[in-house]
């Protein structure tokens, strides 16, 4: 070992619980994102049917699919978000609906709707076909997305567990905490046992009418 290595500055730093946890969580998130990107890239590079990835005119980015799939793994979270969103936006939706209803009634009364239908009708029919096709593709993509999400989730968890298990800081921290708790427990057991020794012995000696010293004797020295 060189002089530099043995200098006091190289002594292992004091382990701080909060700093360690924050560093580990940040590292885990960073690693998780990296893994997500890697899995998405692998998925992108994998042998998949191009038309299955295409949704209408939009070429769905596998990363986006991975994110969507990942989110779908948390239905409770999604449900709560959608519920909250619905509650917040309800007054606006209601007001918008009322305005549209009013406009539709006005259009029917004035005959404006017939003019609009005649102008937009062909485009709307064409769009309906495209919409059905996209819905079919989307349904197929949903299953693939879930599979991909499961893969991402699995690998992310593996990555986080790997980080935690490989972390020397965390290992040292766990070791210190465990040793501290174990040591305190053993100390407690020993103290209780030693106190019980004196108590039990005192009871027996009183029953037998013998003297009981406060401190136990020492072994006889070798003569």
């Amino acid at each position: 070992m060189s002089d530099t290595e043995s200098s006091p500055q190289d002594a292992p730093p004091q382990v701080n619980l909060h700093q360690t946890i924050v560093r580990l969580v940040a590292g885990a998130i960073g690693e998780g994102v990296d893994r997500l990107m890697k899995v998405a890239s692998d998925f992108d590079a994998a042998d998949v049917e191009p038309e299955a990835v295409l949704i209408g005119p939009i070429n769905a980015d596998p990363r986006l699919m991975a994110l969507l799939g990942w989110a779908s793994e948390f239905p409770e979270f999604v449900r709560r978000v959608s519920d909250s969103t619905a509650r917040m936006t309800y007054p606006f939706v209601r007001a918008t609906g009322a305005a549209l209803d009013t406009g539709r009634h006005l259009a029917q009364i004035t005959g404006l709707s017939q003019i609009v239908d005649a102008a937009v009708g062909p485009f709307a029919a064409a769009w309906a076909d495209e919409r059905e096709r996209l819905a079919a593709v989307g349904t197929a993509e949903y299953g693939r997305g879930r599979v991909l999400a499961a893969r991402v989730f699995e690998q992310s968890v593996d990555g986080i567990v790997g980080i935690l298990s490989e972390s020397e800081e965390l290992g040292e921290l766990v070791r210190e905490q465990t040793l501290g708790v174990t040591g305190a427990a053993v100390q407690e057991i020993r103290q209780t046992g030693a106190a019980a020794d004196g108590l039990t012995e005192g009871i027996f000696r009183r029953l037998l009418g013998r003297d009981h010293e406060k401190l136990p004797p020492k072994p006889a020295p070798k003569s």
């Binding site: 020993r190 209780t192 030693a194 106190a195 020794d197 401190l215 136990p216 004797p217 072994p219 006889a220």
Partner: protein, 169 residues
């Protein structure tokens, strides 16, 4: 129950309850060792049966016959090498001779035989610790050993050194 000052007790003879705890722990450890050995014996027995080894070896009988040897080895090895078994280590105890050293193999064998005697007389040899002036059981008398509190960390620390310099109280 008030807590005992372990520092003051270090090097003094240990009482019944602590020794009982240590003994129970040792019994548990030995039972575990015997159980693992039994499992291995069963594996060997099954292998022998599959191979069709002739003459047939009854591993169960052989293993049951070895159990007293395993128990003896456990205690004698630990006493003579370190002065403390796993149970005694956990409870902070050490078996010492009059000069503060760990008992020899011979003394350890005498001590384990003393265990047998202490046990067969309805554990009278162990209960003797409660009434003996020096807190010694029959097996301690047979082997000329003492069991002392030793809360030092290393096995190379002389337990007598602790109270040699301490206040006798």
């Amino acid at each position: 129950m008030s807590k005992a000052d372990l520092h003051v007790l270090n090097g003094r003879t240990a009482g019944f309850v602590t020794r009982l705890f240590a003994y129970v722990l040792d019994v548990a450890v030995v039972a575990g060792i015997v159980a693992i050995g039994g499992w291995i014996a069963v594996l060997v027995d099954n292998t022998i049966e599959q191979v069709g080894f002739d003459p047939r070896v009854d591993m169960a009988t052989i293993y049951v016959g070895m159990i007293p040897l395993i128990i003896t080895l456990y205690f004698v090895m630990f006493w003579s090498l370190t002065g403390r078994t796993i149970g005694k280590w956990f409870m902070g105890l050490r078996v010492v001779t009059a000069d503060g050293r760990s008992p020899t193999i011979g003394r350890s064998i005498v001590r384990i035989l003393g265990y047998v005697v202490s046990t067969v007389v309805f554990w009278g040899g162990f209960l003797w610790v409660l009434v003996d002036r020096n807190r010694r059981g029959w097996h301690d008398h047979f082997a000329k050993t003492w069991v002392v509190y030793d809360y030092s960390r290393g096995s190379d620390v002389d337990p007598f050194e602790a109270y040699a310099t301490s206040d006798d109280g």
